[in-house]
């Protein structure tokens, strides 16, 4: 595949770097100026695809910065972190990290966490549907075996911590939001992202709840997750969290 592989490598280089266009001309029919203009169409398509994928995953981030600036962000993000999959649903996992390091969005310090929250929402929206589960089976576990069980949270569930009021910011940008738009900018919020049927809900949770859920999502046994959480958050109330989790159908089983 010597020829094909070189053709594609040169094509790719010309798309990623305009200065590499001359090396591509030898492969293509037509005058240099026509070839250059035609390659520019593909280059624009490449950025448009990145823009569309990121906009679909992070619509609030886009609303905050505006369509034009977002397009520029997509181009810059793609330059450093090109797509590696034919499925654009996968594109943008590190967009929040990119924003955290990007100097032109420093005036919006909450933006990276907002994008991370949106990525979690994006992932949750396509996560597996939760199986039916009877929460009473958990209550039936004998006390001496409780510490060893591992909770199964509903697919796509995630927590996103922040020094900023990201839950409030996300909420007031939702198309269905009603009511006022005030934001307490001093509030640090941890977001809990979870599927509820086909909807994805974003709610605030306490850092203690988030610590327990994180430890548990990482595969920790209930006893270990509880001990670790209590170490940092002595007031953590596991019973209250589990009651809320049952009510909101955040759990879908456990292994013992």
């Amino acid at each position: 595949m010597a020829e094909l592989s070189q053709f594609q490598a040169d094509f790719a280089a010309a798309l990623r770097e305009r200065a590499r266009t001359p090396a591509m001309r030898r492969w293509l029919a037509g005058d240099a100026d026509v070839v250059d203009r035609r390659l520019a169409i593909y280059r624009a398509n490449m950025v448009a695809a990145a823009d569309k994928a990121l906009a679909s995953a992070c619509p609030v981030t886009r609303q905050v910065v505006g369509d034009e600036f977002f397009h520029g962000l997509a181009r810059e993000y793609q330059r450093g972190t090109p797509s590696t999959s034919g499925d654009l649903t996968d594109f943008g996992a590190t967009f929040g990290d990119f924003l955290a390091a990007f100097e032109h969005t420093r005036s919006l310090p909450y933006l990276p966490d907002l994008a991370r929250l949106e990525w979690a929402v994006h992932r949750a929206s396509g996560a597996a549907d939760a199986p039916d589960w009877d929460a009473a089976t958990l209550a039936a576990v004998e006390p001496e075996r409780q510490a060893a069980i591992r909770l199964r949270w509903t697919p796509g569930l995630a927590v996103v911590g922040s020094r900023f009021p990201i839950v409030r910011i996300w909420t007031i940008h939702q198309p269905a939001h009603e009511g006022e738009f005030s934001v307490d900018w001093d509030a640090a919020e941890t977001a809990l992202v979870a599927r509820d049927g086909f909807a994805v809900r974003v709610t605030a949770c306490s850092p203690a709840d988030a610590a327990f859920i994180d430890a548990s999502l990482a595969g920790g046994a209930l006893g270990d997750a509880l001990a670790g959480t209590l170490h940092d958050h002595p007031a953590f109330d596991l019973g209250a969290l589990l009651a809320r989790a049952f009510a909101a159908r955040l759990l879908c089983g456990f292994t013992s």
């Binding site: 020829e3 094909l4 094509f11 492969w27 293509l28 593909y42 929206s125 396509g126």
Partner: protein
């Protein structure tokens, strides 16, 4: 891989999210609906549920835009596995991919990039299509591309390349009439002559769409009405190959559903008029 006779007949539309509600409420008469496979490479959730709802009402055509079968990189096994999972779940009437590559060296452009139509590329594509068809356990339709550049080293036309692929692998062809027209204008050839290079038995589906004119180039934007020369080329294709399941494909600046339905009705009338049945 032997079902050369299309199991579908008639005209379908691309089903896009802004039309879901109206389509499910009205259930317009359509031969099938088509979606982009990759948009449903999900484990669950609202989108997949909507596709299953559509599948309960219509035959579904899965149209892939990201498998990159013509890349000199190894075929993306995970991508193919996701396609297989979706095919098993939806049981589509048609499954199609493009004659293109989309990425190289591990970087993906998420675009449909043209190939040199060489014997070297033909050997690679034939092997890939064999693999995809045996993995999916069914016939794949391969679509001709719209392109803005063409490779100097091509040893045959795109249509001759596709015809040979179909002979070697038993794959079907998805003739995108708009793409053929776009290329005819962009590269200056007679599109009707290219139809003559294809075997009627291999043509399993046709696509109709609109394009945009920018300077000296037609761009395949799928964002406008099918233009008159494309209708006329479609009529010639129907005359030559017989009526085939045909899609009205519209992706950008999505209009009201009725616009798509009226384009679909027009396609049905052309096919009936030219091929005697629709």
């Amino acid at each position: 891989m032997t079902d050369t006779v299309p199991t579908l007949s008639g005209v379908g539309i691309g089903l896009r999210q802004p039309h879901y509600r109206e389509v499910f409420e009205r259930l317009p008469e359509l031969a099938f609906v088509e979606v982009h496979s990759e948009n449903f490479f999900l484990e669950g959730g609202a989108s997949l549920h909507a596709l299953e709802r559509a599948r309960a009402a219509y035959p579904v055509s899965l149209h892939g835009v990201g498998l990159s079968i013509g890349s000199a990189d190894a075929l993306a096994g995970e991508h193919l596995a996701k396609l297989k999972r979706l095919v098993d779940r939806i049981e589509p009437a048609l499954v199609s991919e493009h004659l293109c590559w989309g990425g190289i060296g591990g970087v993906h452009f998420n675009d449909l990039l043209p190939l040199p139509y060489t014997r070297e590329a033909l050997a690679l594509l034939a092997e890939r299509i064999d693999h995809v068809q045996s993995t999916l356990g069914r016939r794949l339709l391969v679509e001709n591309l719209s392109a803005y550049v063409e490779c100097r080293d091509s040893e045959m036309t795109e249509t001759a390349f596709l015809a040979e692929l179909a002979r070697r692998t038993g794959c079907g062809l998805l003739l995108d009439v708009n793409n053929l027209y776009v290329n005819a204008i962009n590269f200056g050839f007679d599109p009707a002559a290219r139809l003559a290079e294809l075997d009627a038995d291999s043509v399993g589906q046709m696509h109709l769409a609109g394009h945009t004119v920018v300077d000296d180039c037609l761009i395949d934007t799928h964002g406008s009405l099918v233009c008159d020369p494309v209708w006329s080329l479609y009529a010639q294709a129907c005359r030559r190959f017989g009526a085939r399941p045909t899609l009205i494909e519209w992706d950008t600046d999505l209009p009201a559903l009725d616009v798509l339905l009226s384009q679909a009705a027009q396609a049905g009338a052309v096919a009936r008029g030219e091929a005697g049945h629709g």
